[in-house]
Symmetry: C3
């Protein structure tokens, strides 16, 4: 890990980094990623220009829990040629045109025979669908339904210039040490070809969150993982389960963070972990129209992170959720759907969640009864009808800082946005009236 | 117990046994049952032609908790004769015409004097009410209010040819052993004279449930009791309390199971026992318009089974509940009100509850992370937008099979009918991916 | 403590003591109370004619938790004189005209300079506001906004003939011993000058509750405290915290008990203490339109009694709550706002709460199954359709008297007003069918 290099990069205005994130997404967009292969490596190489990732390779054939790391897939070219030799379906135009993990083929066949290898969406006739066949050997092409209907009868040649052979699965991680060994876990995936919201918004926001975290003091240690979905998450888990279960206090699966539409939340399986509480507090305080999904609506790596016996406290805070927006898993999930403002929003809501995790502690008052705030200039010296209003939030904070509630709980109880408590806590700690419960000094 | 004889009876189609149950109810209908006496014995003798009941006699005077088994009551005849010697109120026409436990009498008296011994229902003028006086010596007659108003002035002779003397209380039980000593307890009562929904539907459905249970493998042992209400239940409890408290995991009080109208549920006092959970799951999944009563609406033997210090997990699943339908405790509760289809419905809902008890176990997954269902043919090999739908219930079942939830809880959590889980569980157990928690093999 | 003298006072009809309470409030009304000084002592001397209070003095400068007992304030006179020497603002007309704890002054100044020392309410132009400055040395006058606007330009003389010097803080307490050392804590305050609902209704109702308690057998010991708000409550706590935390099972802060309008409830910080449960049960059963506030709406001595580390079970049952009625903390909070009927209502609701605390115990049945109520004359001997109605509450009480629920909980569960249970409990205890759990004799 070469943590130092990150500090030499030009400073970022984290309140306005949407354009920079969008530019990074645009750079990554054309690469043909899959669950293994050079597309993943190329992607990580570009990300390493922003954050000091450590890259790991896990050989094909490695057992990971109930799974086995598959052969590595690489592809140079793929097309369907018509009788005149024109590339009517062309991988070079969009890597979505080939079914992921297609085995090599070079075959001439009738349109009828070709149809069995074609995939399109009748209900979205202009979109090229995203299709994969990781664990069964197949080849195939994806195209718009419009184009499919227009294909003339005749003879076609289908060519997939790919390799599927022993190699390795590639993932990367970054650990940003904090004041404690307790960890916040961030995970995102890097296995989808040219799609923007469901996928690139995730690694791009993860990279900029890492830069923001690197730029500030950290109470928690941060573990940030970039891995192919499912098999990558299982691989990472199989190598780090004990340490993750011991240290991780909260985690977020970073996906679907780039469009302009909804904010949304998908809980951990448990539903009441610190990650869930932080997400719901931030979203409730600041994005009140957000959509709350159920764990039954899950579909990303929380499937592994929250599985029985793993049980990590991992939730998802998203913009428009996978499977819930029409462009999902098609060529329409592009860099028009994902915008600088959308990415800034996705980055911002996660940053707020992480800021809350850093601020959130259990506090207790240091004196019995209410403290005399007046002599500290924190209470009106003149008692009138209006006295109470002026100090209500401070008094409420003191009333519930009883060593049993963290700031999230106090905010819930007193009905004040949690961010409004941060400066009040700072003042009361400075005055010696509040103390973090893990910093000694109980009152009772 | 002559368990073997039951197996020699002709086989029953348990999906269409309503007519057979109705025929049995019709055979039992004319018998004059009470809390003691030959009517109970005759009833049990008929039931023994269907199931191998063991009959017990408990002497009058036996202390059962706070109560004492009363003298035995038997009746040969009863009538009110008019001045011409005509039987104007006649026990031979309906045994409801005499107040239950009427002491012997042969007296001549004026209409005014007779009125003090008559019972009718002004608000249901054509119905003969059901009235008893078990614990205070009385005699009386019941008649329709219409008939009562039409009685001419004059002299009447009232005759009750009954005996009330030391004898015994009669009850019966059947134990069907299962793979474990844990028991399911079924109780019904046999103390009402000619009434069909509130009473005969109970013993008739109980008899056919016993035949169905006898015909299949059983994880649980079943204890099925036929006893007079209240004093019989107390008697049974006083003799078996320790074993019941130790072994019974769920129980149902079988009553009011024969009409065509509602399905209803009355909880145990605790309200969250396995019996309650099974009843609510079955009714919610399959009889969604059912009526849920409160324990405050109780009125049958749950009053004893759920009393403080007894605390058996006994709930009631019924059709139209006692006290809630107009024909209750009158001559209108007859074999027109109770129908073959109504009995089939009552039998069916209880059979579903018992099937659920048999199926319901705590499962846990045998691997960390999601298993690779694809190589077992349980997951689509082609990854598309629609992949998730196809396997959602299987994945949800695996996600919540964490060793802390039984199938009822998983069904509640994932929103799938519990019966839909039975075949999925069977497949996953066969594949070695799920294991019942009480069968060893934890994952974590 | 001269407990005996209380018994020599003339008997009170506690169902009609509103006029006597109003007369006592009228006697106390003119006295200029503050958090220290002779007004408090004079008030307590009058209250001692009704109840045998013990009076305590705590020297200025005494540390109480985070606070220090302030210098003692006394005032003989105060006025603002116009150029003709007329007392245009006159303490003698109402003690609200001077800012509480005003330091001595005798100064001549222009209207403009005087304005900086004047307080009025633009939104309530006819009311004189109540203003204090306990912990910062100031002087000032309060007047109606109407009068303020009418003050002509010119020269004024402001005179405050007060003393602010070392002395003591005065409070009083009364302990009424009961059968147990467990205590019920009643607290009220005596620091506001001429205001009736928010303040005098509190000590007046407290005094009459004390007389009612003295007149009857008591299961609990009662500790009744009259102290200045905040600093007095803190002072009392600092001297008695250990014993209060050990013994107090429930407490009420007595304030705002005299108007005719609302009934209201403000919970303890915990919200589920015995005091809260008793208050909610009485209000819910008998004053169903009551207003339930949140602890966030607090503003009286529960701020101290419920603070972290103190955590006494103290709730408030009030009529119109401080800060919620327009006359609050102005000259309009007078003896027209507070009425004999209003005080009787405030007294009555608190008496009901204390009666409930006395009656409320955990009961358990002494037999298994339902007892045979019939042979005790508690169950109809004739069994008919209507049997259940007649005894439903008794049966429900027996069904839930399982040693885990007190009467409040049973009342909640069975939906019967708790006061309806008192005579039933008495009967069942007399019959030996119920036993208080703390009096031995478990059933199971």
């Amino acid at each position: 890990m070469d943590d130092g290099t990150a500090h030499e990069r030009p400073p970022v205005d984290f309140d306005d980094c949407g354009p920079a994130m969008h530019a990074l997404a645009a750079e990554l967009f054309p690469i043909c990623r899959s669950i293994t292969g050079d597309g993943v490596r190329e992607t990580l190489a570009i990300l390493r220009r922003h954050i000091p990732l450590t890259v790991h390779e896990v050989p094909s054939g490695t057992q990971v829990f109930d799974w086995v790391v598959p052969p590595e897939w690489n592809i140079r070219d793929a097309c369907v040629l018509d009788e005149r030799g024109e590339r009517v379906i062309d991988f070079r135009r969009s890597n979505l045109h080939v079914v992921g993990y297609s085995v090599p083929v070079d075959v001439t066949l009738s349109l009828g025979e070709l149809q069995e290898h074609l995939h399109s969406l009748e209900e979205q006739p202009s979109a090229v669908p995203y299709v994969t066949s990781y664990y069964r050997e197949r080849w195939g092409f994806c195209l718009s339904h419009e184009q499919r209907l227009a294909l003339p009868e005749g003879t076609y040649r289908a060519v997939v210039d790919s390799t599927l052979q022993p190699g390795s699965l590639t993932y990367a991680e970054l650990i940003l040490p904090g004041a404690t060994e307790d960890e916040v876990f961030l995970s995102t995936y890097i296995c989808h070809p040219s799609m923007a919201n469901n996928e690139l918004s995730g690694p791009v926001v993860a990279a900029f969150l890492a830069r923001w975290l690197a730029s500030r003091p950290r109470r928690y240690t941060y573990r940030i993982v970039f891995a192919p979905e499912t098999i990558g998450a299982l691989t990472y888990l199989s190598r780090h389960l004990d340490v993750l279960r011991e240290r991780v206090v909260a985690g977020f699966n970073l996906t679907c963070l780039g469009d302009d539409r909804a904010y949304s939340y998908l809980p951990s399986r448990d539903g009441s972990t610190l990650a869930d509480r932080a997400a719901l507090k931030v979203l409730g305080d600041t994005r009140p129209g957000f959509t709350a999904y159920s764990y039954l609506d899950r579909g990303s790596d929380e499937r592994q992170y929250c599985s029985p016996g793993v049980d990590l406290p991992v939730a998802s805070v998203m913009r428009s959720k996978y499977r819930e927006y029409p462009e999902y898993h098609t060529s329409l999930d592009d860099l028009d759907l994902v915008t600088p403002a959308g990415l800034q929003g996705g980055f911002g809501v996660l940053r707020d969640c992480l800021e809350l995790l850093e601020q959130n502690r259990v506090y207790r008052t240091t004196c019995l009864g209410e403290p005399q705030l007046g002599r500290r200039g924190l209470y009106p010296s003149l008692g009138t009808k209006a006295t109470h209003e002026a100090v209500a939030v401070t008094l409420d904070l003191l009333a519930y800082a009883d060593g049993s509630r963290d700031l999230i709980s106090i905010s819930d109880t007193i009905g004040a946005p949690v961010a409004r408590l941060y400066p009040l806590v700072e003042t009361l700690v400075r005055e010696g009236l509040l103390v973090a419960d893990d910093a000694g000094g109980p009152a009772s």
